[in-house]
């Protein structure tokens, strides 16, 4: 259907104008109708609704009560605090990572490949990202990649002990604290034999190199002994090295002076035996070093109440770094090359060029990225609901999620829900003003 008046070729000025008006109205009508019903009306209604009670089309007038609740209910307070952390951390990180990547990119040939890889998460839904990272963040280092990576780094500096769990087989050997050193109570002189029997070791936990335990013969000037699994199928006699009992290799054994100072340290053989030679006369104690029982890395609880927000921030930065990189790279490409070259010819170092030339020239682009990220972060929802397990969603709460939970999560408190939405809206109003001002100055 074509607007009949618009079709008229220019005759009189009046007729032509009217034609244009009608055409304008026809072209605008669908968009304005949808915007009016789905955006403008809801904004007015939600603002009004926020002053009324929980249910009903409007309900009962409650004044500012809903807004007071925003700052007095602990779940909402958590949401606001968390969102403040998001705003403080994410835009700055995303912008600087984007800037870093964009600048480094200039130095390589495979720009396109790198850009594609980093930009990829932008195409994936925040929801699918949540699912993805939930797999990454599993606590057991055997299951979650993040903790697996952490473990392999940690193990370089902090070897786990050879025995994850063990108990003394007799009361002669005592452990002061769980996971601490075990000290043989009997004082030892040179020529003594120290028997360090352990039990409570699962067969799978016995080191693979272990062989039949051997009690070494006593030797003058030397203190010898055995660390062994003082248990065999059927029980056996406690405190005695018997046939069928395995030595425990790799155990750290310390020789301590009467004052409790470690004078010598060694590790046990496959048959569990050890020896301290060249010991001067005196009274000593033998002990199994605490490092023997050092627990293997159990993984950080990324999805637990304490770390859930950092975990979310990392995943979110993973999504948006690509956006920032692409926008900054476009800004870099549009930058006058001769300015950079001039600075280099004048003897400026790469760092100086970056600090004094690149960054100031890029400032408008960087600000756009920052502002865009602030808006995005204020509205974050999908990632939180997908990544945070139900049990920690209270700890991970953000404004948009709190709004949804309040209005649609069972309680259906439309009054408070509206107030939270309005609060969110008020937070982005400065950006709204900025957009309008920019348009008006551009059009002058």
């Amino acid at each position: 259907m074509e607007p009949p008046l618009a079709a008229a070729p220019p005759e009189s000025g009046e007729g032509r104008n009217w034609g244009r008006y009608v055409a304008g109205a026809v072209f605008l009508a669908p968009a304005l109708f949808v915007l009016g019903v789905w955006v403008v009306y809801p904004v007015v209604y939600t603002v009004l609704r926020s002053f009324f009670g929980q249910s009903g089309y409007l309900g009962t007038w409650v004044g500012l009560d809903n807004y007071k609740r925003l700052f007095t209910t602990s779940t909402l307070e958590t949401a606001i605090k968390n969102n403040a952390i998001w705003v403080a951390v994410v835009p700055a990180f995303v912008t600087s990572i984007g800037l870093l990547f964009a600048v480094l990119l200039e130095k390589i040939r495979w720009k396109v490949a790198f850009k594609t890889v980093v930009f990829l998460p932008m195409a994936i839904s925040a929801f699918a990202t949540g699912v993805t990272w939930r797999i990454m963040y599993q606590q057991d280092p055997n299951l979650g990649a993040v903790n697996a990576l952490t473990r392999s780094v940690k193990d370089v500096f902090n070897q786990p002990g050879v025995l994850s769990q063990a108990f003394p087989s007799t009361s002669g050997l005592q452990q002061a604290s769980p996971g601490g050193a075990m000290v043989l109570q009997r004082p030892l002189a040179t020529g003594s034999v120290a028997l360090l029997g352990l039990t409570g070791i699962a067969p799978a936990d016995v080191p693979k190199t272990a062989v039949q335990a051997v009690q070494p013969p006593s030797k003058p000037g030397t203190i010898v002994g055995t660390v062994w699994r003082d248990f065999k199928p059927g029980g056996g006699k406690v405190g005695v090295v018997e046939k069928g009992e395995l030595g425990l290799p790799g155990v750290t054994v310390e020789l301590r002076s009467a004052a409790g100072k470690t004078v010598q340290s060694t590790t046990s053989q496959p048959d569990g035996s050890f020896a301290f030679s060249g010991v001067s006369p005196g009274s000593y104690r033998a002990a199994i070093g605490a490092q023997t029982f050092a627990k293997p890395f159990a993984g950080y609880a990324w999805l637990g109440p304490k770390l859930i927000t950092p975990a979310l921030l990392i995943a979110y930065i993973w999504i948006w770094a690509g956006f920032s990189m692409v926008v900054v790279a476009a800004g870099l490409a549009a930058m006058p090359r001769d300015v950079l070259e001039a600075a280099r010819t004048d003897g400026a170092s790469e760092w100086q060029v970056f600090r004094r030339v690149t960054v100031p020239l890029l400032a408008p682009v960087l600000i756009v990225v920052l502002v865009t990220m602030v808006i995005n972060v204020l509205k974050v929802f999908d990632l939180v609901i997908a990544l945070a397990p139900e049990s920690t969603q209270q700890n991970a709460n953000v404004i948009a999620l709190a709004m949804w939970r309040t209005a649609f999560g069972g309680v259906n408190d439309f009054g408070t829900g509206s107030a939270i939405a309005v609060f969110l809206f008020v937070l982005v109003i400065p950006v709204l003003m900025l957009n309008i001002r920019r348009f008006r100055t551009e059009n002058k």
Partner: protein, 298 residues
Amino acid sequence: MTSVAAPAPAAAAEVPKVQESVAAKIMRWLAKAPVQILLIVIGLLWLVPTIGLFATSILPAQQLASKGWWQIFSKPSLATWSNYHALLHNHGMVNAFKTTAYIAVGNTLLVVVFGAMAGYAFAWLEFPGRDWIFIGVIGLLVVPLQMALIPMFRLYDTFSLYGTVWGIVLFHTAFGLPFAIFLLRNFFTGIPKDILESARIDGANEFLIFVKLILPLGLPAIASLAIFQFLWTWNDLIVSLTFGVQPITVWIFGQLREFGTSIDVIAPAAFISLLIPLAVFFAFQRYFVQGLLAGSVK
């Protein structure tokens, strides 16, 4: 004769240049090596989560109980399509996939058509209050969609739009339009005025000009917009969740409670949900980036 003489000095000049560039190349590579290595590591780290999701999706659930997805690298024979096979025979999932497609395609069409019409009106038609109405549209750019959830929940109930694909499509259209109008109006104002004027003098009406001139000339901007809008609605969760429709995201959301035991369903479903956006992204990467730049830098 000059044609013979000319190459000689060029060749002479080339010899030292080649020698230089071999040495220089090595030096340059050495100087850049740290950056290269750093970027390779970053690139790999960036890929890990997506690879992890895919590896998880092709492993049998019992394999994932005690070992992580990276076991696939030591035992590639464990890989199986059975998780996907099961999903394709799951009615809930198949319907959810269709729903997602309807929402994304319907919404993209509406936003592009309504947005282009309005963009044209704001760019090239004269009527009273044009700039004021446009400022109003810009004002709507940043309105959070949370502002509309409660009122629309009521309205949808009254007009039986609750639980319908149309309800979701129209909701997304409304929140996609301000950006669409903003982007297209800016692009359309860049079309040379004389093209339009001469068409008008030739007697073409506005509708004809819009269809025959504006739409073809505006294609690059329209393409970016369409891709953006498609991805945005394909990936939506909150709107469908609120208005009782079940696209893939909402369907997976329903399984999340049993994350550990349903991983063989969740991971492949999540991967399927991102296949289409990835395909669109790779096919139209250029437009995607352009749209992004238009939306943020301008």
